[in-house]
């Protein structure tokens, strides 16, 4: 018979130091201020182009750093996930491996305690932002009209796309809901 099992003093939650580092570097306040500066006196078309450029770059760096630090700061949940993936075949990395990095990215930069996961299975990874700080920030700084153009969606979309590409997972990323219309933003990655 096996010995009595005793768990080491593991942490199953995300490392707070890691979250702090990410929060400092990718503060939504900073990127929204940068955008606000950039669009001063610009036309609608230019605003869209500025938003795309600024938020795409932000989204790419934000998710890449989340992934990098996520690897540097593992937790027990992640270690067991890697064991499970190893045992069940690498194909099943999707959806939990990308889910972890997305949770790191959003939990570090938004005032939320969980990232609502709507679906996470072999075919789809779907998550939702309900009370988005980036949107609120934009609304305060640029007004509702500009905020409702959702320039920030480029950050979320790029982050999700970049992540799957960097992980070598062939996935199609789509936006399924938008705050101005639906009250929340929802992003879906479907395995191609």
């Amino acid at each position: 018979m096996k010995e009595i099992y005793e768990a080491k003093n593991y942490s199953y939650e995300l490392n707070p130091d890691m979250l702090k580092l990410l929060r400092e570097e990718f503060d939504v306040d900073k990127v929204t201020s940068k955008f606000t500066e950039a669009i001063k006196g610009k036309s609608a078309g230019e605003i869209e182009a500025e938003g795309k450029a600024i938020f795409e770059e932000y989204g790419r760096n934000w998710i890449r750093q989340s992934q990098k630090l996520g690897e540097e700061y593992p937790d027990r949940t992640y270690e067991v996930l890697l064991e499970a993936i190893d045992k069940t075949g690498g194909y099943l990395r999707f959806a939990l491996a990308p889910q972890r990095f997305l949770e790191i990215a959003y939990l570090s930069t938004q005032e939320i305690s969980i990232l609502p996961i709507i679906e996470n299975n072999v075919n789809r990874l779907v998550y939702r932002m309900v009370d988005c700080d980036t949107y609120k920030n934009l609304k305060e700084k640029c007004g509702e009209e500009v905020a409702n153009l959702l320039p920030c969606r480029h950050a979320c979309l790029t982050a999700c796309e970049t992540l799957h590409r960097d992980l070598g997972i062939d996935a199609l990323v789509q936006m399924e809901a938008q705050i101005p219309k639906d009250g929340y933003c929802q992003f879906a990655a479907r395995r191609a």
């Binding site: 018979m1 199953y12 949940t77 064991e83 069940t88 939990l96 609502p116 709507i118 996470n120 075919n123």
Partner: protein, 283 residues
Amino acid sequence: MCWVCEAYGDPEVENGRWYLNPKNHSRNMYKIKKPDQKAAAYGSDPEAQSGRNIGEIMQFRFTDPDKFNQLIKEANAMKGSGPFQIGQVIPIQEAYKVVEMSYPVASMSCICRIHNRAQEERNEHEYSCTGLGVGMLKWERWPERYKGGVNFMAPDEAKEWLVKWNKKGMVHIIMTFGGSYVGGVCNCDYPDCGMIRNRVDYGIETGCLKSHWVAKIDYDLCTGCGVCVQRCQFGAIKFEVTLDKTNIDQLKCFGCGLCETGCPTNAIELIDRESLPGLREVW
């Protein structure tokens, strides 16, 4: 209509079956705790909480039987909104779909067998319960619950494993762990399974609802061999001497499909419960 499907199913997904709706299998992996928030204590999970709530009702069997019956009626009337786990019998064909969709899937020790028969399950050859979803990644938090391990399985492996327990005669029950979140497929039998026992012996319905199916015998194919009589955990089948065949009482049938998978002549088929007017509100 099945009230769990009504509450948690999506008519556009898998005929509205709640346990095949991916939303009920999805959950975040992490949570940011407030600085003063302590980690949850052992026994504060929905499963243990639900067990205690049922235990409290059960106490009244001895002290106040009228109150006992009243509390059970109330618990059943609460349907999913009460503080009880929801469980529903599913045939193996649907259990396959569940393990194909959910991740991770792990075999683990059955809590009922260890409690009620001191049956210890200490390795993957003995494990008889299936855990589903991200909770499995944190099993080490509760070693007393998981008895020192879980065994992660790829979908094909999980199916073979379900077949193994189905062959032995276990009923598959899909279980929630908090709200509509699906956390496991149990392999159960009477009397050690708490959910089956609570339902069959005491009438507590929520933890062991009948499946969406019901068994039907083709008398032309049945040879009266009696295999299905042995396999039914719910006492719904008996041998009928007059006809020299077996007979299924569809009002007692839970639709687990064990008789169907066991019948050597394929005389039994599972039909949709809701196609029979007398059964469509029997869950």
